[in-house]
Symmetry: D2
Subunit: 352 residues, 4 copies
């Protein structure tokens, strides 16, 4: 690709928390440039900075602050959109954009299990990108980013699946409030408290890794069929989902070999040197009380996952803890990495 000319992109759901993060990350991005912001009819026609309840610590990029918000209707200003839409509306709107020939990179759950839509973690299943060639969208396409808790978990499972095979995975999550967007979780619900429930979350974690770790056969993903179980909790943490994981492996192995598998793990984003890719996708900590959300969520700008406390398990084979930054790697950052992979592999048709 010719990186000297950036690809103009639009942000669907630009005023929401994922939308804001997309705008922040795309500012000064080598491949992309935000030139359109789309939101609800209520906001359309107004200036972005006047409508958005911006809550990121860096200011609104100047180039975006004064954009007039468009409705979520294809108007051909751009050919590439990032979607931070709420799942209540994302499904239909994204389909419409794809049918209109847009490339849609979505963080919403709606299309994740469409047969021809890649559910992508670039380090894990970059080959699934080929699915887009089967999409019947008249030149457009949809690729999706998994759920925020799935991403950290699946990244930590991938080296185990590759090296030893996975039989069963049980996980209990402790999830940050930013995962619910803004205003999201009421302070009255979470100060000095835990909410042991996140609507729809357990179902996502119990299904998404099976597609992501699935194998591409005849341009279709054969789902993995190991057993997964998840229990999800919301805790008083701003950013960073921590997960307690237990795994049964197909092949017996040692603690040392597992740690080695994690530490040596690299994927296509690393070999392609994608702008948002972490140098090392997985950090294993030997300290007995690491990783911790506040200390480790921002490693490699929030794009690496942190693993620790690997221990033999009396029931499963091993147990450990994994942490990932839910709004970076687990949402906007992860989706952006998918988009970078798409561009670098030459799959964005308008590119060139």
């Amino acid at each position: 690709m010719n990186t000297s000319k950036k690809i103009s992109v639009g942000i669907l759901g630009a005023t929401g928390s994922v939308g804001q993060k997309f705008i922040q990350l795309i500012d000064n991005h080598p491949f992309f440039e935000t030139v359109e912001v789309m939101a609800s009819d209520r906001s359309a026609g107004k200036t972005y900075k006047d409508v958005v309840n911006w809550f990121l610590p860096t200011p609104i990029p100047n180039s975006v602050a004064d954009l007039i918000i468009d409705r979520c209707i294809p108007n051909n200003k751009v050919r590439f959109v990032f979607s931070g839409l709420d799942s209540g509306v994302a499904g239909e709107i994204e389909t419409e954009y794809a049918k209109a020939g847009y490339t849609v990179v979505s963080n919403a759950k709606n299309h994740r299990f469409d047969e021809d839509v890649p559910l992508l973690i670039p380090e894990v299943n970059s080959d699934h990108l080929d699915l887009v060639t089967s999409q019947q969208y008249n030149g457009g396409m949809i690729i999706t980013n998994p759920n925020c808790s799935t991403i950290g978990l699946t990244l930590s499972l991938k080296p185990l699946e590759d090296a030893f095979g996975i039989d069963e995975v049980n996980v209990v999550t402790m999830q940050a409030v930013s995962g619910a967007g803004f205003p999201g979780v009421s302070s009255l619900s979470i100060i000095d408290n835990i909410v042991p429930y996140i609507s729809g979350e357990e179902e996502k974690i119990e299904s998404e890794p099976l597609k992501i770790l699935g194998t591409l056969e005849n341009n279709s993903v054969k789902l993995k069929n190991f057993k997964m179980s998840a229990q999800c909790n919301r805790v008083s943490v701003i950013d960073g989902h921590l997960e307690s994981v237990q795994v049964r492996l197909k092949e017996k192995t040692t603690k040392e070999k597992i740690i080695e598998a994690w530490r040596n793990f690299k994927g296509e984003p690393q070999s392609l040197n994608l702008p948002t890719a972490p140098e090392k996708p997985i950090y294993y900590f030997d300290e007995p009380d690491y990783p911790q959300p506040r200390l480790h969520r921002t490693i490699e700008n929030g794009m690496a996952v942190s693993v620790g406390r690997l221990k033999e398990c009396p029931i499963f084979d091993y147990k450990f803890v994994v942490l990932s930054h839910n709004t970076m790697r687990g949402a906007a950052g992860g989706a952006l990495l998918c988009a970078e992979l798409l561009i670098k592999k030459g799959l964005f048709p308008q590119n060139g």
Copy 2:
């Protein structure tokens, strides 16, 4: 017993967080009266109220505030002591008191696995109290209260063990900071954070329920041998340990039958109507996002455990969430209930 005359008791480790809670709970108790407070040599000789860093919301009971602190050496002022001692010193001191003929009710871990020492949850294994008759303490005896995370978990398991039999239990805990005492966990470690480690805790949870649920045979406890695995996390909650639990049962059953088993559960403290006993030891909630520490930890003055979110598990048979108040049911309140059982069963020799 003749409740018109209260039993004089001493509090070992009276200035610590468990010690304070003992003093608070024993104030106006129908069976007991605090007449002696014991602490480290550093504090001995000083007035209790001048030394203690009292952090409970109710004031120091007047009858205790002006007591002069004694050293932790038997002096025969009382014949009955509650121990809130740190495990670093509890083992030896408690042995000394028992040898001197004292009845010792301890919250410390040191003697929990002594063969002749009951590890007691009065609703679960009140029959284990008989173990004390084998103790060779010259009239004295030691009984122990389990770890704070064990108690809630084991109370929720007991009806399942009785009705269906337990095969495997996996648990991930989210534990309140009060479990670490005062000052305990630094605020810098826990605001906007989780610490996925509590020293020694996983070992306790993986072993204690097997003794508590064990059967008394020939005046000795036959440990259960089902598999247990635990991962422990410290979270930003003041009081109340929440635990995500998965169980495999010996006998297949239904969700309804499990909930019924919990809701109908009663034990000896209820039939004996012990002063600190909750009317119902277990509350099951149908609400999808209950129980929560801040809302439910104080049910029945913190002596009942709350259970919710029972769901079939793709790996085990069922999964659920259990909450218990770690400093009440899980520490001083639980130990006090043990003491009440002992008195009511006529096992305190000086009583009568």
Copy 3:
């Protein structure tokens, strides 16, 4: 009054946070009984327990749980209502109820400065109740409870005004999230954070004490005219507003005399022995780091205010810290005390 027969009351805004608190407090109240719950048109016609997002630690009283919600339109089921309505709608609805002959005890701000409406803290200005005799509401009447931050502050000022006279008051508040209702403050706004702004709050604190401390002359309140300044902050606390206060007094005095004035302070609720009245309205603490929200907000069931840290001030005369429970004394509990005063003084016409 004949307390054997309770007065039937309705709760306006029954599903909101203040409404819930009214329902909780009136359960088993000696004077009142909740027989009607009113809320928005959206909720009307539905069962209370199905609509309310109940977030108090005690369960919904059985007698209320199954009530069908009415619209906020007078229907003569009761003659007495407590209003926990939002100020967006409270003004008009309360007027309508009063015109229909209802007695309205309101926590909303709308009528607080109506000339003939008492703005009441029963310990401070119970004589202002007489204002209701001037109200032109066809038998109905409105009495109001001050802002949550005003109440604690004004209670602490009253003994100073009586004994020494007040010249100037500067206050900086640190307010709990429950003051904003539910969902209110987003967790993303307040974990590891402070918001130095609460809409409309500074204006209320700078004006309400001047009416409350005003003198009744010719059945009208002559406002005090000392200078007041307030800055308000929202902090990560569930319940309990803490305020740093500086005062300039008309008459020079000593620290001892001020503390004595606080400790000896009593008002009409104490002499009338009203059910919700604290025994002592003000607690002064000598400890250098008291009062603290979590430790002291529930003193006397949240109806007493706590004061501490009295110190000479290089600019004003004295400075101190005052704490009050914003949803008890500062909202529903305070309003209930007003209602009790009204009843006990025989001002509720249907009573007898």
Copy 4:
């Protein structure tokens, strides 16, 4: 100076929280290089990484991790030390180092009011550096950094003093837990709570600004004599002290002129382009609810202060809110800026 050769420095109190921050900031610093770490006798002789309870999100710099800790006794390995010592020991140790010819840049309070020791905020009173020429330390010298709450406050006051003159300043602080070091504030003291007291803090805030804003006359600082009053609170925030301030000015002015004075403010660190200097020392926010600790504490890497909510005050002339990062600008970062000023002004004798 010749920046190609870095000045070797030692860190006194290297394992403490301020010490850690010094080490983090000096890593890759253009002027300085940490080659010695000093701590208590208990730690001396051990490797830094084995002793330190490192709690910063970035790893221990490699060049420091393996240093062997020295005692706090001058040994001539370096000629320049940063002191993060506790005030319990700082006074004597720093004197000893100065007497041994060291340049000591200290964050401790002990020498702040020594007549010949500059109490320095480089943007405010860089001219006070000249005081060191009067020091009788045999070639050594001591310069000090003010208290963390003083720095933000005084930076916000300086432009007002210069433009309008200050008559009175009242301040209420809401201070982050990191200000107390590690472990510092217990989580039990601060979750869902406020502690309205910080030992010694009010006295520092009421005195330090008067020296810092004082004028240098005949190589001695003439203290300002306006009145200052402070009340200090500890709140549940990790980093960032927020302060509610009221000021009386000598000369009447407008809101616009005050904001302009803040926005245009620059000092010597800016003109000298010191490495740690913020581009703009003061940011004024027009948003009604800014500044907030979590959003604004890291502006300019934590070296700028944020101001907002300027409003006329019914008692004083104006009131506003100021925020500064207490461990950056308010401690290690502020002290480092002092050191950079010293170097750049050629006052470090060994330099050149």
